[in-house]
Subunit: 366 residues, 2 copies
Amino acid sequence: MNLQPTIKAQKSSKILLLSGGVGGAKMAEGFAFSQYAEQFSIIGNVADDQEFHGLWVSPDIDTLTYTLADEIDKEKGWGLKGESNRVLDQLKKLGSDTWMYLGDKDFATHIYRTEQRKQGVRPSEIASNIARSLGVNTPIILPTDDAIHNQVKTEDGWIDFQDYFVKHGCKPELLGFNITAIEDATATPEALKAIAEADLIVIAPSNPIVSIHPILSVPGIRDALEKASAFKVAVSPLINGKTVKGPADSMMKVAGYRSDVVGVADFYQGLIDGLVVDKQDLSVLPELSQRVEHVFPLDTLMFQRQEKIALAEAIVGLYQDAKATGYRAAGAQAQAQAAGVQESTLDLTSATQADSSHKPKPEPVL
Amino acid sequence: MNLQPTIKAQKSSKILLLSGGVGGAKMAEGFAFSQYAEQFSIIGNVADDQEFHGLWVSPDIDTLTYTLADEIDKEKGWGLKGESNRVLDQLKKLGSDTWMYLGDKDFATHIYRTEQRKQGVRPSEIASNIARSLGVNTPIILPTDDAIHNQVKTEDGWIDFQDYFVKHGCKPELLGFNITAIEDATATPEALKAIAEADLIVIAPSNPIVSIHPILSVPGIRDALEKASAFKVAVSPLINGKTVKGPADSMMKVAGYRSDVVGVADFYQGLIDGLVVDKQDLSVLPELSQRVEHVFPLDTLMFQRQEKIALAEAIVGLYQDAKATGYRAAGAQAQAQAAGVQESTLDLTSATQADSSHKPKPEPVL
């Protein structure tokens, strides 16, 4: 006789987070240190990967790993705590361009990753090995083992996202976005399996354009998400029309979206069952209700671990409520199709999209 | 009117050192910090190069560079002073095999070298760039830009020299030597030019088998040396039948040579005009005089920089004396041929050599 049906269901539910780096890592920390830690896995973003000093750096995966290992530099939100910069200083002495800060211990990660890749080990496996070695039990899954790469267009032409973001401090005017080699990328079996098996899929408050879009754009991933029976919730990275950190707000505009939670709802239209917005955005709830079935106003600003855990657990609670009241479990695809939204709506790499009042108007591959 | 002919001649003389790592670096330091610094260049050994953690490490070239940059760890005789091991500790944490000590600043050298090689920069140019960046003015010349590689045979088969030397602490019984890909290597133009232009060529007290032999074995180098008009002097690395450090003495035996200065004379027969031996080896002078035209007993143990400079300047003095008394300037080739010594005598990679009382009896490529 089962006396605790709700708790049992909850314990067996699988929670999957789609996450970028710094912003998403906060959400990841909330789940990984919550009571749902053992049911939790993450698909991270690899499109910001870049070579520095001939070494393969994977900023978003490392930020997730270091965060869950409790080794993150909390002030910066990325990199390892207690770092030194002996290697970088010496590389500078040798004449290398050292605009990207890499600490000594962090260098070890990149040296290890690069060597393993050279030896033919799958990037997914390397990421798992690094995470395990640092004591992380949460599966950090790569969407693809292929090299895909965010680029942004500026007046000077296409440049790597990290160059725009770090080297140029997000200053050049943005004219477009592109992900190189995305059409030829293959989704990892781990990612497809995690999506298919998940009960709750959460899209982290990460940059939709350069963190989440690359995950969704790996052939097969978006389709798997649309078909997945999971309850899908996005957490808006925009509060009051602004991001907590990073250029997501201005990027949304350039991509043809409103730079607020409505834009976020449009961006994920056809994909999500619910949207978590900050309580500061209560005024736009009427507009949102036309776009998303479930809108959840919560306190989404996360500073302390307890706030992160609280938000994670609140989202699980919302999912359980939706489940208890009988949410559509057939995936969002049917919903999207019923609403007349094309599958390619969120495809920033396709330039042939219809314009309408609230449909996305991307400005891709200029 | 030239009132100082000797000094003028001396100032314009070009001095070239053939050198391995730790032992040779002492000799290199002597010349580089002597009054002859500006006339001095070095051809270093690249056959101990090896990949660690996917990075190209060049132990002998680095030891020379760090020594001349005054950045060497004086206690160890290699590596940079004031090192830390943050990267190595972290690599260990990630599961890498870290038997070879590499300091953090040293890692920068290897990261830089590896990246530059990947970009197609010539290894010679990379070595020059590193040296220049660290303030070294002495040209450190590579004998070849191709990858050649010392191996030693043990009971377990062929292993890399660094594995034998560092990982196994020279403990396995040696059965033979080999340099991979040596036949296909091409001498660098810089090495051939330095040999052709030198007035005095000094072979450092380095390991003849694994440091000097690889330089001599690069096709074209030995021939250039034999044809060179320079006065050629080797400094014996063996004193009283022993090396100051390292396995040169036991290696000489395995290669079929006497493990003393006589063995050294045999090893360099046909190549050198003079041999510098330690004063502790006066008893074998009669034997040596049958093998080398000029034998110079000197204090060859070098601890302080002043002793290194003194030895370097003493060798230049000997050269000047020999020049003043009219040494054969036609190269050692004629001398070697007159003595009936075959060109291949020192070729450890050839197994077809005649045995005789004092001729080398190498045991190559077993």
